[in-house]
Amino acid sequence: MDWLSIFQNSFTQMVGVAAVVYCLAALGVNIQFGYAGLLNFGQAGFAAIGAYAVAVLVVTVGWPLWLAIICGVIGSILFGLILGVPTLRLRADYLAIVTIAAAEIIRQVARSVTLNDYLGGSDGISGKYAADWYALNPFEGIDFFVLRFSKNDLWVVLNGWALVAIIALLTWLLMRSPWGRVLKSIREDEDAVRSLGKNVYLYKMQALVLGGVIGSLAGVIFAMAAQSVQPDNYATTLTFYVYVIVILGGAARVFGPIIGSMIFWFLLVFISELLNNAVRAGYISSDILSTDQIGQVRFMLVGIGLMLLMIFRPQGIFGDKKELALDER
């Protein structure tokens, strides 16, 4: 067993690119699901819009990165409006069905052979995504005890966590304002809020769009970090992971998604590295578990984890039931 490499990978991924990307997507879902009670299961679709906007506009069309990002944000706003208009007046689970369907529509259109010339089919688009931005990087890679980042990854991770911090700050400001009060009240009983003269539909729409915009930024960072987009990276599994993260860290808590994402990626990488090492070292017979199957076991654990969390600790692993009510205070 190579314990050093197990811990290196686990701790690096705890704050790595995946953790940043999923944390951003989770910050968005936290506003929608955590604070407003909206079941957006299409966060993968929002992320795909951000990622493809950068991919198509920067790599294929050749626009500057900042303009592409703005287009991605506008795209996600439009997507949120399209999803919200038919569903936000309906019962909560209709939104879940429509958003999950819409995200699948996006993925299947993106990977279609018909649009291969524009969106790259199932291979997606790779190329120079953000050369100028990477060129700004004054740092070298680090290799310090358990943390290892290449030069580029370090730049992505630093910028990514800074973006996370900004969004968390905005969330904190919003949720202690009267706007946040209305949102939290809608989660509890929207009729009561309506009877007090608040346009519930508008608030839900704002929450859906705001969370979606944050989700599209997750896609932007993902595309910039990977320097490629692939449609199957934006499947429903992404959204399910994000829900695990939100619930793990504690829904309706400003720092929930951040803590959740770190714990999630640490555990995920740690478990698969551990299993992988155990299989290779012969502690687990490869008849029972081949190394190819470790990814599958990981998904099974995520599924079980989501069930157990929701049943036994819906308030997250650190929160107590009262804190669920206390929210971010």
Partner: protein, 460 residues
Amino acid sequence: MRTRLRVVDDGPGLLAHRRDTRAGLLRRRWALRSLAGVGALLLGLGASVLPALAADTGLKGTVKDPVSGSGIAGVSITVTGADGTPQTVTTAADGTWLVQVPSAGKYEVTIDQTTLPDGLTLADQSKVTAKVNVLSEGRVQTVLFKLAAGTAGEGGTAPSADAPASKWSQIPQLTVDGLIFGIVIALAAVGLSLVFGTTKLTNFAHGELIALGGLSTYFFNGVVGLPLILSAALAVVVSAFVGGWVQNRYLWKPLRKRGTGLIAALVVSIGLGLFLRYFFLFIFGGQTRSFDAYAGQAGIEIGPVLITPKDLISSTIGILLIALTTFWLLKTQAGKATRAVADNPALASASGIDVEKVISTVWVLGAGLASFSGIMLGLQVGVSWQMGFTILLLVFAGSVLGGLGTAFGAILGSIIVGLLVQLSTLIIPTELKYVGALVVLIIILLIRPQGILGKAERIG
């Protein structure tokens, strides 16, 4: 050193990272693995091993037999660039081909049909030449040619070359295909809708009941070696018991007792579905397999329509099952109780109906029907670990279209969705036919959120 993060998929949507700047030891190990041709890497940081030519620009593909799925050697492929110079290659023993091109840009890829084995032709005669845009340097673009049984220019499942005229002549065939697909969806949708009606659970793990039916039939048929019909019957019983009774008794009933909220239950069902899908993948593997009987059954012509006997028989059974369910709901005491519970559980309970018993019955019934849906799907397109999840959204579309919670609405809505999926291929590319149905789902919700047969009440 300048390194690049590669993100490749090792399962649907998995975000997987691999760093090239790993310690030398690790890198060598990975290199060894790729040399050994192990395929996708794991570690959750796994990445598929890129081909040796990854740095080059080009076009590639695999020509496959549509029935057996094996590659076809010796097929001639020609790639023509914007400058007009053609490059011709023939496929290797495993059906793969690769052409390197000098730069990114637009290319035309043509398959020579005369080099195809006898009895095989392009599924779509209008796609002898594919126009492909290689988006960037360093990218190897995949080009696929879909084959079908038949000879070029002949009728059958392969549409003939005179496309515009034959387009409308496909309507009878597509209608029948749509009806059969509608039955597949309806069988699954009845259970989804009844469970929703009686317990208000939006069950995102319902697709796995479909897969359970298909996979357990494959187990009895392909592994144990029982005849297909017996296997199917056994699979329905096993699915109804394990997927229905056991699932309700040991998961959902305790959750109802705990007073788990609707949204929490929905999230639980997502977790369950995720677990089951990858459990199926773990056990069954990633391939799509067919039952050992009737795999390449020839169709019989009825008027303008070609239908295989297996589809004819299985959909007849499907219709019978739906009819029996309808009869049960309308005429029997238990069925009436079920409708009463779906209507108003508290009132039904007060009138002496054992609500838990009804719910249990609904789960068994729903799981049994869904498993038969999986068997039909398996007969048509083969069984795979995520066969249920693939059509789950269409099942939702059917249920919502008809009115979530009403069994009859679910049947009607599903048939419409089935027809829509097949007939939409007249207008949109076949690969996007599910997308069309999902778009319609969203539009329906906009116009008539309660569905066709749903009660016009406020759903706020």
